[in-house]
């Protein structure tokens, strides 16, 4: 069985992450309950004729993919696997609104064509002229990890050599309004740096795209090795610790082998308890890291965590802004990521230095 390596990264988020030469050097501290990405210059990557029909999520996905391919020194990949929770929600909103507003008359084709969840994967393939395997996973906050698992299995079995894997979600006005109504978005603006002290329900919603070239061929420039991924649809708080330690045991590791635990805390007092179980339990003497104060919450926000872990391992540096505690580590060789959203779709991902 082949090993699986992260050979490149491309990220568009609420921070200036599209520049791979930087690593959270200048943090943007928001004060809001919904945050948008910092846009790269999309025209530098997408011809205007192609860009004019692309909604934000498609542009973010295409550009993050192109950055990842450049970073890997590749012209193309063997397969494209995308994870998205909401897909092209803006065009979905536009199309459904047009149906309602125009009494089911005058329906235009563009927003309908672009509204499907697999539009991003399709547009990336068109841009790259990649005719290989193309699959989109839609599974709430496990969407990215589902894509990751698929890629990992194919690379381990040597079915493909280079696979573009990513997570992408965009904000849509109507979706944001609905999530505010049901208190899934925080009822008040929160300073990013004080997210975990917000003492309120809901999350700070956001958008983003994080793409990676995974390969079963290691390069000198590889970021890390993907050792394991495990998904759970449901877990109770009481089961989290055992699920985490069992996952480590399955990979012949103990808690003391983990240099960094990266957690998906989003400041929701109703659901951050899952993370607190690990923080104050077996990993209390482990360096803990969080990231959703930087990128916000969306179904594929964990792909930003994956980006963060990749950068930490490659650069062997840990930005102050992501530290949850201060446990001195000589080096960062093994990182465990844990994420869930509203108590569902839990994932454990293990990366190690290569």
């Amino acid at each position: 069985m082949k090993q699986v390596y992260i050979n490149s990264i491309g990220s568009i988020s609420g921070q200036k992450t599209f520049d791979n030469n930087e690593f959270l050097n200048d943090i943007v501290d928001y004060e809001d309950n919904v945050i948008s990405v910092i846009d790269p210059i999309y025209k530098d990557y997408i011809p205007p004729a192609a860009a004019r029909r692309m909604a934000k999520g498609i542009k973010m996905g295409v550009v993050a993919s192109k950055i990842a391919l450049q970073d890997a020194g590749l012209e193309n990949v063997d397969a494209i696997i995308t994870g998205t929770g909401m897909g092209c929600v803006r065009d979905s909103e536009k199309f459904v609104s047009a149906i309602i507003d125009n009494d089911e008359q005058y329906l235009t084709p563009t927003s309908f064509i672009q509204s499907t969840h697999n539009t991003v994967g399709g547009q990336i393939a068109l841009e790259l002229q990649c005719k290989g395997y193309n699959f989109t996973y839609v599974h709430g906050s496990n969407s990215f990890e589902s894509a990751l698992l698929d890629a990992k299995l194919q690379l381990e079995n040597n079915e493909e050599h280079n696979i573009l894997v990513g997570g992408v979600d965009e904000l849509g006005d109507h979706t944001v309004t609905i999530h505010k109504l049901i208190n899934h978005i925080k009822p008040h603006a929160v300073k990013s740096s004080e997210l975990l002290k917000s003492n309120s329900v809901g999350a700070v919603f956001a958008e983003g795209a994080n793409f990676f070239v995974l390969s079963n061929e290691k390069q000198a420039s590889s970021y890390a090795e993907v050792t394991a991924v495990k998904l759970f649809n449901t877990l109770t708080k009481a089961e989290i610790t055992k699920a985490a330690t069992d996952f480590l045991a399955e990979n012949n590791l103990e808690v003391s082998d983990i240099d960094i635990l990266i957690l998906g805390n989003n400041g929701d007092i109703e659901h951050d308890g899952y993370y607190h179980e690990l923080q104050s339990g077996p990993f209390k003497n482990t360096q803990q890291v969080y990231y959703k104060h930087l990128c916000g919450e969306f179904n594929t926000a964990s792909s930003f965590g994956f980006w963060l872990a990749s950068k930490i391992i490659k650069t062997q540096s840990l930005p102050e802004s992501v530290k949850l505690n201060n446990i001195k580590q000589a080096s960062f060789k093994t990182i465990l990521l844990y994420n869930q959203y509203r108590g569902e779709n839990h994932s454990f991902t293990l990366l190690k230095q290569c």
Binding site: P48, R52, R53, Y106, L107, T108, P109, T110
Partner: protein, 85 residues
């Protein structure tokens, strides 16, 4: 007629997301498809819907559309003659 041509240019730019264009960039006799603005078949569908929604004109014969959508001049002439709203 000039007001209608200006309105058409603004609508086309908005409906077809021609972000980098302004009405001044489109000459009345510019070809809308092919070598001119470079519009394609999806744009043609958008224009058919626009004629129906904004001017009450239902195009049923696709061959008819080819001549009507040749330029702003031809569109404006057809709309002036056939509009119901």
């Amino acid at each position: 007629m000039d007001a209608l041509k200006q309105e058409l240019k603004e609508n086309i730019i908005e409906q077809l997301n021609l972000e980098d264009m302004s009405p001044e960039d489109i000459a009345n006799d510019d070809m809308l498809f092919g070598d001119g603005l470079g519009l394609d078949s999806i744009d043609a569908l958008e224009l058919i819907v626009m004629l129906d929604k904004s001017y009450g004109i239902k195009l049923t014969d696709p061959k008819e559309g080819r001549a009507i959508f040749e330029s702003i001049d031809t569109m404006a002439a057809y709309i002036t003659e056939h509009r119901t709203k």
